[in-house]
C-alpha cells in the first residue's frame, strides 16, 4: 500500500493524569474541540484525543492519552505512562485532596516515564475562584520545588488551557533541539515523520512488532 499522506512532522505523546473528577477529560475536550463538556462520563481506562499544533513552524501532532482517574484503574493506567513525552498532572483548586495526591501522581510520572518527560502541573477549575481551596502560591511553590511547569486553567472557560498544552509542546521541542531528548530512544514519546512519511504505526502489518516486551 502506498505511504499514507501526513501533514505533520512530529508526534508527541501526552498523558493526562490526576485524581478522578479534576477535569482531565474536560481539559482534553476543551483543547481538542474548544468546547466545554458539561457532564463528562467517567473515563474507562484511557481515552484519546489528537490535535495538530505548530511549534517553530513545525507541525506537531499531539496524541493525548486521557487516563481514568478512578483508583481502580490505577493499575491499568500505569501501563500507559510509558513513552509519554509530556505529562499533564491535574488537580482541582477547589478540592485540596486532589492537590494532596499530587506527590503520588508525580511519583508514578517520574517512575514510569523517561527522565526527559516534561511534566506540567495544572490547577484546573480556576473559574471557581470563590471555592478555591488551594492557593496559587503554594501550588507554584510545589511546582518549583519539583521542577514542574505550572499554570492554573479552566476547562470551562478555556482559560490557559491552550497555553498549558502548547507550552509543554514548546518545551519538548526545545529538548529535541538542544539534543537532550533522543528521538531514537524507544521511550522518547516523540515520533519523527519524514517529509514524505510512511505510515509510522503499522497499517498493513500486525502491530505487535513494536514495543516487544523486554
Amino acid at each position: 500500500m502506498a505511504a499514507g499522506p501526513y501533514n505533520y512532522s512530529y508526534i508527541f505523546k501526552y498523558i493526562i493524569i490526576g485524581d478522578m473528577g479534576v477535569g482531565k477529560s474536560c481539559l482534553l475536550h476543551q483543547f481538542t474541540e474548544k468546547k466545554f463538556m458539561a457532564d463528562c462520563p467517567h473515563t474507562i481506562g484511557v481515552e484519546f484525543g489528537t490535535r495538530i499544533i505548530e511549534v517553530a513552524s513545525q507541525k506537531i501532532k499531539l496524541q493525548i492519552w486521557d487516563t481514568a482517574g478512578q483508583e481502580r484503574f490505577r493499575a491499568v493506567t500505569r501501563s500507559y505512562y510509558r513513552g509519554a513525552a509530556g505529562a499533564l498532572m491535574v488537580y482541582d483548586i477547589t478540592r485540596r485532596s486532589t492537590y494532596n495526591h499530587l506527590s503520588s501522581w508525580l511519583t508514578d510520572a517520574r517512575n514510569l516515564t523517561n527522565p526527559n518527560t516534561v511534566i506540567f502541573l495544572i490547577g484546573n477549575k480556576c473559574d471557581l475562584d470563590a471555592q478555591r481551596d488551594v492557593t496559587y502560591e503554594e501550588a507554584k511553590q510545589f511546582a518549583e520545588e519539583n521542577g514542574l511547569m505550572f499554570l492554573e486553567c479552566s476547562a470551562k472557560t478555556g482559560e490557559n488551557v491552550e497555553d498549558a498544552f502548547l507550552d509543554t509542546a514548546k518545551k519538548i521541542y526545545q529538548n529535541i533541539q538542544d539534543g537532550s531528548l533522543d528521538l531514537n530512544a524507544a521511550e522518547s514519546g516523540v515520533q519523527h515523520k519524514p517529509a514524505t512519511p510512511r505510515n509510522p504505526i503499522t497499517t498493513d502489518q500486525p502491530p505487535n512488532k513494536e514495543n516487544c516486551s523486554c
Binding site: 500500500m1 474507562i44 516486551s213
Partner: protein
C-alpha cells in the same frame, strides 16, 4: 529653457550661418587640400561636426584626383552628414528644430549660389563665389532678421517633413532651387558631364554648407540640444551673449569677405573659447583654459598655426591617400575610422546615423581644441586672418574676461556634459536595442544568473504543484485506511492495548515463575484452554461466517458483549454499523447516482471500514482493561475468551459484508459509467482494506490473550489464597 533663450539661441544660430557662409566659398576656391582644410576649420569649431570634418577632409583628398568617384563619395558623405545633422537636429527640442531650419536655409542659400557659379563658370574664383554667396547670405539674413519665429514657421514646414527622413534633409532641402542638380550629383550616372561638373562644385559647396551646418549644428547639438540644454541654462547670463558671438564665429567663414569683420573677429574668438569648452567639456577643462587663457591672442595663435596647419593637412591628406591606414595624428585617427566606417556603410539607416552621434562627439572632443586654428591657417585666408587677428586681439581681451566666467561655469557645466553624454549614449544604445536587452545579455552572462521572472515562475509552478499535491494528499487522506484508522483513534487504542498486553504478559511470566509447581499444574489447564479459545477462533472463522451470511450485527455484538459480563455496551460499534447500513440503503434507494461520484463512494467505504475497525479495536481494548479490573469476579476467563473470539468473528464478518455492499454500490455505478477500469481498481482496494481491517481486529483480539491469562492466574491465586 525659456522661450526667450530659445529664440536667442536660434537667432545666434541663424547669424552664425550667415557669417559662416563666406568662409566656405573661399575655401572652395582654394585647392582641394585647402578646401579640406577649410572644411576642417569650419567643422572643427562645432564639436559635433569635428568628426564629420575629418571624414570629409579625407574623403575630399582622396576624391580630389578621382573625379566622379569623388563626387559620389562626397555626395554620400554629404548625405550621411546630412543625415547626421538631420538626426541631431531632429531630436525633439524646439531649439533644434529651429536650428535645423536654419541649416536648411543656409543650405538652400548656398546651393543657389553654387548653381549660379556652375552655370556661369566652372572655375569659379573664390571671390565671385563669395560675393554671390554674400548676396545670398543677406537674403537669408533678411529672412532671419524678420523674426526667428517667422523662420520657424516658414521652414518648420520643410523641416517638419524632413526631420524624420534626415538623410534627405540636406540633399533635398539645401538645393531647394538646384535640388535636381544636387541630386543628380549624388547619382552621377544620370547627370550630363556639364552638370556633373557643376554638380561636383555644387557638391563641394553643398558639402561645405553641410559642414557649416554641421558646425552650427555641432554647436547647437552640444550647446542647445535637448540633452545639452543644461549647459546653456547654467551659462545663461554670461554664456548666452557668447553663444551669439560664437555662433557668428562658427559660421564666420560665410560672411568673411565684406561683411562684418568685427563681428566675425569677436565671434571667432568666442567661438573658439566656447566650442573648445563645450567640446572638450568634461574631459579637458584645463585644455580649454589654456586655449582661452593661456593663449594670449587668438590672432597670434592663428598666425602661428598657419605654418603648421598645411603640414598637418598634408599629412592627413597623404594618409587619406594611403587608404586611411596610417592615421597621421592620433586625433585624426578617430575621424578616419569613422570615415572609414562611413564608407563601408554608405547607405545607413536613420538609426545608424544616430549611432554615429556619440562618435562625432568624441572626435569633436579630441580634435576641436587644437585644430580650430588650423582652419584659419589656410593659405588663402592667411592675410585676412592676420587682419582679423588684429581686430581679434582687441576684441579678444574683452572676450577674455567673459571667457573666465565661461570657464567657471564650465566646471559646473562639465557634469552636465557628462550627463548629456550619458543620456545620449543610452538613447543611442536603446534605439538599436530596445530596453537594452541585448546589451544586458551581453554584459551579464545569462547562464549563471537566474533571472527574476524565471525564478518567480518557478516558484509559482512549485506552489501550484504543492497545492495540487496537498489537495491530492487531502483526497488521499480521505480514502486512506491507515490515516482514517488513526483519525478514529484505532491506532491509539491498539497501541494502548498492546501496552496492556505486554504488561500482562510480563505479569503472567512473573506469576508463573512465582507459583509453586503444584499451583502451576492446577492452573495450566485453564491457561491452555484460554489459549485454545484464541486459536480455535481462526479455524471457526469461516464456518461462522458462512453460517450467517447476512448477520444481525447489532444483536450478535450485544449478545457477545453481555456474555463477557464486563458492563460495556457496544454503543459505538452499533452506531457505526447503523450509519453504514443507512447509507447503503439510501444509496440503493437512489436510482440515479449522479450526486455520488465514484470517488465519494470509495471514500465512504474506506471510511466506514476504518471507523468500524477502530471501534472494534477500542472495544477489545476496553474489554482488556475491564478484564484486568474485574479480576475478582468468578466469571470464567475461558468463557470470556470464547465470547471475545465470537465477537471477533462477528466483527470480521461484518467488515467483509460491508466491503461487499460497497463493492456492489461501485459495480452498480460501473454499469452506468464508462470508467469501469477505475472502478475495478477501487473495488479491489475496498476488499484489500477490508482484509486489512480484519487483520487489525484479530490482532487486537490476540493481544487480549495475555490479559485473560493474567486475569485467570490472578483469579486462581486469589481464590486459592481465599480458600
Amino acid at each position: 529653457m525659456s522661450d526667450s533663450e530659445d529664440e536667442a539661441a536660434f537667432a545666434s544660430a541663424d547669424e552664425g550661418e550667415e557669417v559662416n557662409k563666406p568662409a566656405l566659398p573661399a575655401a572652395s576656391a582654394a585647392s582641394g587640400k585647402k578646401e579640406k582644410a577649410n572644411t576642417k576649420g569650419a567643422a572643427q569649431p562645432g564639436a559635433g561636426g569635428a568628426t564629420a570634418t575629418t571624414k570629409t577632409s579625407s574623403g575630399d583628398s582622396a576624391t580630389a584626383g578621382k573625379g566622379e568617384q569623388t563626387k559620389k563619395g562626397k555626395g554620400r558623405q554629404q548625405q550621411q552628414k546630412g543625415k547626421k545633422k538631420g538626426k541631431a537636429s531632429s531630436q525633439p527640442s524646439p531649439k533644434e528644430d529651429s536650428k535645423t531650419e536654419s541649416d536648411e536655409k543656409k543650405a538652400s542659400d548656398v546651393p543657389q549660389t553654387a548653381v549660379k557659379q556652375s552655370k556661369s563658370d566652372e572655375d569659379v574664383t573664390p571671390k565671385t563665389e563669395a560675393t554671390e554667396k554674400e548676396q545670398s547670405v543677406p537674403q537669408a539674413k533678411s529672412d532671419t532678421s524678420k523674426s526667428s519665429q517667422d523662420k520657424e514657421k516658414g521652414k518648420g514646414d520643410k523641416s517638419a517633413g524632413e526631420d524624420k527622413t534626415a538623410s534627405k534633409s540636406d540633399s533635398t532641402v539645401s538645393p531647394s532651387k538646384s535640388a535636381e542638380v544636387v541630386q543628380s550629383d549624388n547619382e552621377p550616372g544620370t547627370t550630363t558631364p556639364k552638370k556633373e561638373r557643376s554638380a561636383e562644385k555644387e557638391s563641394v559647396d553643398n558639402q561645405k554648407t553641410v559642414q557649416a551646418g554641421e558646425v552650427r549644428k555641432g554647436l547647437g547639438a552640444e550647446m542647445s540640444s535637448p540633452e545639452g540644454q543644461d549647459i546653456p541654462r547654467e551659462l545663461k547670463d554670461q554664456a548666452t551673449p557668447k553663444q551669439d558671438e560664437s555662433a557668428e564665429k562658427s559660421s564666420g567663414g560665410w560672411g568673411w569677405g565684406s561683411w562684418g569683420t568685427s563681428i566675425l573677429s569677436a565671434a571667432s574668438s568666442s567661438v573658439q573659447t566656447f566650442t573648445t569648452q563645450v567640446g572638450d567639456g568634461f574631459t579637458t577643462i584645463i585644455d580649454t583654459m589654456e586655449s582661452s587663457l593661456g593663449v594670449p591672442d587668438p590672432g597670434e595663435l592663428a598666425q602661428a598655426k598657419e605654418v603648421k596647419e598645411p603640414e598637418d593637412e598634408g599629412k592627413s591628406a597623404s594618409a587619406d591617400g594611403e587608404k586611411d591606414t596610417h592615421p597621421p595624428q592620433e586625433k585624426s585617427s578617430e575621424g578616419q575610422k569613422s570615415s572609414a566606417m562611413d564608407k563601408r556603410v554608405p547607405d545607413k539607416d536613420v538609426k545608424e546615423k544616430s549611432e554615429e552621434k556619440p562618435e562625432e562627439q568624441k572626435e569633436a572632443e579630441s580634435s576641436s581644441g587644437n585644430s580650430w586654428f588650423s582652419s584659419w591657417g589656410v593659405a588663402d585666408l592667411a592675410k585676412k586672418v592676420q587682419d582679423t587677428g588684429k581686430t581679434l586681439a582687441t576684441k579678444g581681451q574683452t572676450l577674455m574676461s567673459e571667457g573666465f566666467d565661461a570657464v567657471e561655469n564650465l566646471a559646473a557645466g562639465g557634469i552636465d556634459v557628462l550627463e548629456t553624454i550619458g543620456k545620449k549614449t543610452y538613447s543611442t544604445l536603446s534605439e538599436h536595442d530596445p530596453a537594452l536587452r541585448k546589451t544586458r545579455e551581453f554584459l551579464s552572462p545569462k547562464a549563471d544568473k537566474p533571472n527574476l521572472s524565471s525564478v518567480l515562475r518557478e516558484a509559482k509552478d512549485q506552489a501550484e504543484i504543492q497545492a495540487e499535491q496537498e489537495k491530492e494528499n487531502e483526497e488521499a487522506r480521505k480514502a486512506h485506511f491507515g490515516t482514517l484508522f488513526d483519525d478514529y483513534q484505532g491506532i491509539a487504542h491498539l497501541e494502548a492495548l498492546e501496552m496492556l498486553s505486554n504488561q500482562s504478559e510480563k505479569k503472567v511470566h512473573s506469576l508463573l515463575n512465582s507459583l509453586a509447581s503444584e499451583d502451576l499444574t492446577a492452573i495450566k489447564p485453564v491457561l491452555i484452554a484460554i489459549k485454545e479459545a484464541f486459536e480455535v477462533n481462526e479455524d471457526d472463522d469461516d464456518d461462522a461466517d458462512l453460517a450467517a451470511k447476512d448477520q444481525d450485527f447489532t444483536s450478535l455484538v450485544s449478545q457477545h458483549l453481555s456474555e463477557l459480563e464486563l458492563g460495556t455496551a457496544p454503543d459505538k460499534l452499533n452506531k457505526v454499523h447503523e450509519m453504514v447500513k443507512q447509507w447503503i440503503v439510501d444509496f440503493d434507494a437512489n436510482e440515479s447516482h449522479d450526486s455520488e461520484s465514484v470517488k465519494n463512494v470509495h471514500q465512504r467505504s474506506i471510511q466506514s471500514l476504518a471507523e468500524l475497525t477502530s471501534k472494534g479495536v477500542e472495544q477489545f481494548h476496553k474489554a482488556g482493561e475491564l478484564v484486568l479490573l474485574e479480576r475478582d469476579t468468578d466469571k470464567d476467563c475461558t468463557e470470556r475468551a470464547h465470547s471475545l473470539a465470537r465477537l471477533t468473528g462477528v466483527l470480521c464478518h461484518e467488515v467483509g459484508n460491508m466491503a461487499t455492499k460497497f463493492a456492489g454500490c461501485l459495480n452498480k455505478m460501473a454499469e452506468q459509467e464508462e470508467s469501469s477500469d477505475e472502478i475495478t481498481a477501487l473495488v479491489t482496494n475496498i476488499y484489500l482494506e477490508a482484509s486489512n481491517s480484519s487483520t487489525y481486529l484479530q490482532d487486537a483480539f490476540q493481544l487480549l490473550l495475555p490479559v485473560l491469562q493474567q486475569a485467570a492466574l490472578e483469579h486462581s491465586i486469589n481464590s486459592r489464597h481465599q480458600s
